[in-house]
């Protein structure tokens, strides 16, 4: 069975959950007051490349040729691009960032909470929007691969600068020492 949510080892998860009417501002506060970067909850999930949370409470009317459309309830839209299996990722969300996850999804209709991990996974899976096309130029690289490679690139730059006038024998020896952990 072909999984269109996946490319390489990467998975593109999209979830739309209906916000309980009247709770839109509470959700907005929960997601827009999150610490950013390394202090944010998603940094605790080593498999996550990118994640986004946002509220769809209004649709953009395209003009007179479109019959006006209205959402019945506002939606909390969650997207994440990560390596590995979906259910393992959702389990990691429940285990490693339960307080934050509950702070926004608890305002969504039917949300069971992270305490019941199986129910949590079922809830988000039930509200998943299937991806029809997912693409990335580095679909098999994990977050750790990316970080390690970026750090290694810096080491290569430093080595190249330091080694530019070395004779072959010393160059080889210095290379062996500098990159003993590589390969």
């Amino acid at each position: 069975m072909i999984d269109h949510n996946r490319i390489g080892t990467a998975y593109g998860l999209t979830v739309f959950t209906p916000i309980v009417p009247g709770h839109e501002e509470a959700v907005r506060d929960a997601i827009e007051c999150l610490p950013r970067g390394e202090d944010g909850p998603f940094s605790r999930l080593e498999q996550v490349h990118f994640a986004r949370l946002q509220i769809f409470d209004q649709l953009v009317h395209q003009g007179p040729s479109q019959r006006p459309d209205r959402l019945g309830t506002a939606l909390l839209v969650f997207t994440a691009s990560f390596n590995g299996a979906r259910d393992a990722f959702l389990d990691a969300v429940a285990v490693r960032m339960p307080v934050e996850a509950d702070s926004w999804w608890s305002h969504c209709a039917g949300y069971p909470g992270t305490a019941d991990r199986a129910a949590f996974t079922r809830y988000l899976t039930r509200n998943q929007v299937p991806t029809h096309l997912f693409s990335s130029p580095y679909p098999t690289a994990t977050v750790q691969d990316v970080r390690d490679s970026l750090a290694l690139r810096e080491r290569v730059v430093d080595f190249v600068v330091a080694a530019q006038h070395l004779e072959p024998r010393e160059l080889q020896e210095r290379f062996r020492e500098a990159f003993a952990d590589v390969g």
Binding site: I2, H4, I7, T14, F16, E32, R36, G37, G40, F42, S43, V48, H49, F50, R52, Q54, I55, Q58, L59, V60, H61, Q62, G63, S65, Q66, R67, D69, R70, L71, G72, T73, V77, T79, S81, V129, T131, H132, L133, F134, S135, S136, P137, Y138, A141, D145, V146, D148, S149, L150, L152, R153, P168, R169, L171, Q172, F175, R176, F179, V182, G183
Partner: protein, 192 residues
Amino acid sequence: MSIAPVRSPESAPPTDAGNSDGRHSALTLFTPIRRRWVWVVRAALWVSKWLPMTQKHILQFKFIHMVRWSVVKRDRLNDAYLFFESDFDGPWQQYIDGFAYVIPRDIRFLWGRGYDFPAPPPAEPLKRWIAKNSMEGGTFYSAYPSASTKMVLGALATRERLESLAAENASLDPEEFKARYDQFLADVQGHL
């Protein structure tokens, strides 16, 4: 629940920290598809997974990290909607010229199935349309916010070549190693 007023075409798109992390930005569009075209859009996205040319078109722009499309139909809405999200380097405004002039057919084919789409080229009407339809706010996280797509791809390629050289090293004499090292530098110099 109300319908958002159409933003002024002249207005600049909102700058919103919820769309960015470091040098990375996210663009989310949620736009209607005319009913008669829904199956065409869904089928086109479905088969694109196996079409190298489509992937090449999407990924030729070396500022995209991840991109996804979904066709969404919800009970109370008249139309099905095309959900699009892209995670990329920098603000989107500077790249729309590339989209508008390099892959205008792809753009027209997908979003042209909606209403009043300003088929590119030129780029300016497309920029105004994206500004109007960009879903703003919320929060966005990147695991490596200071690294551009080019940096990531270059670092991955450098690592691969370095691992190969390191593996060979034990079996090379110094002169052979120097020759391989020089070749390594030639191969990766564009990534450093």
